[in-house]
């Protein structure tokens, strides 16, 4: 019950932040893919940099433990590309779609319907995906720090510096 309450509260706060940053809009999502408006990239990268610093602090203090999601080149490359193509067609991702509906963009009911059908399609494709695509380049839960053999703070620093340069570029060019 407490877990559910935390889910609801976290969702409300996250939804309000997404709404205020205007990232719930088709124009912002497709705008990023058309390389015209990088609002969603700014939001996402800032979240990632702050989030990674915080969760690795918690991890180093021994307060939480986590492993990255397992790496399968087949799953992430094929799945990721399919996702991207669909993303450009609908202009929303799963999380932002419900937020967009709630701020009045009711045309998003069609993408939501499509994503629900997609969930069902995936249930049927699942055995094929597990058998044929998952084993392609399967490396398990590996982090960038493991892969490069460096400390995770080095990767976080590089991420933050990279994001900073990207942000400067975006602001300079009004993206």
């Amino acid at each position: 019950m407490t877990t559910l309450a935390f889910g609801l509260i976290t969702g409300i706060l996250f939804g309000a932040l997404l709404q205020q940053a205007e990232v719930l809009r088709y124009e912002k999502q497709v705008g990023a893919m058309r390389l015209m408006d990088m609002t969603i990239v700014k939001f996402m990268l800032t979240t990632i940099v702050v989030g990674s610093i915080g969760i690795f602090l918690l991890k180093d203090l021994g307060l939480v433990s986590f492993d990255p999601r397992p790496l399968s080149l087949g799953l992430q490359i094929i799945g990721g590309l399919l996702f991207g193509v669909g993303w450009a067609l609908i202009g929303y991702c799963p999380g932002t779609s419900l937020g967009a509906l709630a701020e009045g963009r009711y045309h998003v009911i069609w993408p939501i319907l499509g994503m629900l059908i997609g969930g069902l399609v995936f249930a049927f494709l699942y055995p094929m995906v597990q058998e044929h695509i998952q084993p392609m380049g399967n490396y398990g839960p590996i982090s960038v720090a493991d892969m490069l053999g460096v400390n995770h703070w080095f990767v976080i620093l590089a991420l933050a510096v990279g994001a900073g340069f990207l942000f400067r570029f975006f602001e300079k060019h009004n993206l």
């Binding site: 969760i55 992430q76 799945g79 629900l116 602001e171």
Partner: protein
């Protein structure tokens, strides 16, 4: 505060990062949304009496990928996103009813049928892709990249590669 408008995505993004950290610290939960879609649809099919439990998908991860997992943290998180967006849009008077996305309508016209076609095909591709890749921009993008997972970096890059390619196909080269 108009001159500060450019800071908004960074401030909101930074606060979202702190929210992620708080969620991990307090509830042990990373953000993610896409699994709720197959859960919801299998919950719906089950509710109207269609039995699909013979599919291997229903046994995968101890059945946690289907509606059997409801109600869970992520379902409430997704409901919360809608609630929070609604409240924020009302509070700031940015709630706006829209029959079609303006950018889309400018390119394709007021063609609801075509928009439904794009939406259904795109929605299917997106969700199959998300579940195959193991996450969406919140699960892989925000949570996974924050954990520095190679899988998540790769998935996030592929989301954008696919998206940029398809957007170019739909909208052509940037004219302005």
């Amino acid at each position: 505060m108009k001159s500060r408008a450019w800071m908004k995505p960074y401030i909101c993004g930074g606060l979202a990062g702190l929210l992620l950290v708080a969620s991990v610290a307090i509830a042990g939960q990373f953000f993610g949304t896409s699994t709720t879609f197959p859960r919801m649809v299998t919950w719906l099919t089950n509710s109207i009496g269609i039995d699909l439990s013979h599919l291997a998908f229903f046994q995968a991860s101890g059945g946690s990928l289907t509606g059997a997992a409801f109600p869970d943290w992520q379902l409430l998180f997704v409901i919360g996103i809608a609630l929070g967006a609604f409240l924020a849009s009302i509070a700031t008077k940015t709630f706006q009813l829209e029959p079609l996305p303006p950018m889309w309508a400018e390119r394709f016209g007021n063609r609801l049928g075509l928009r439904i076609g794009h939406s259904i095909i795109g929605g299917i591709l997106l969700m199959v892709g998300a579940r195959m890749a193991g996450g969406c921009p919140s699960g892989h993008g925000v949570s996974g990249v924050s954990q520095l997972g190679v899988s998540s970096f790769l998935a996030l890059v592929m989301f954008f590669v696919g998206g940029i390619f398809m957007a170019r196909f739909l909208y052509g080269r940037r004219s302005s």
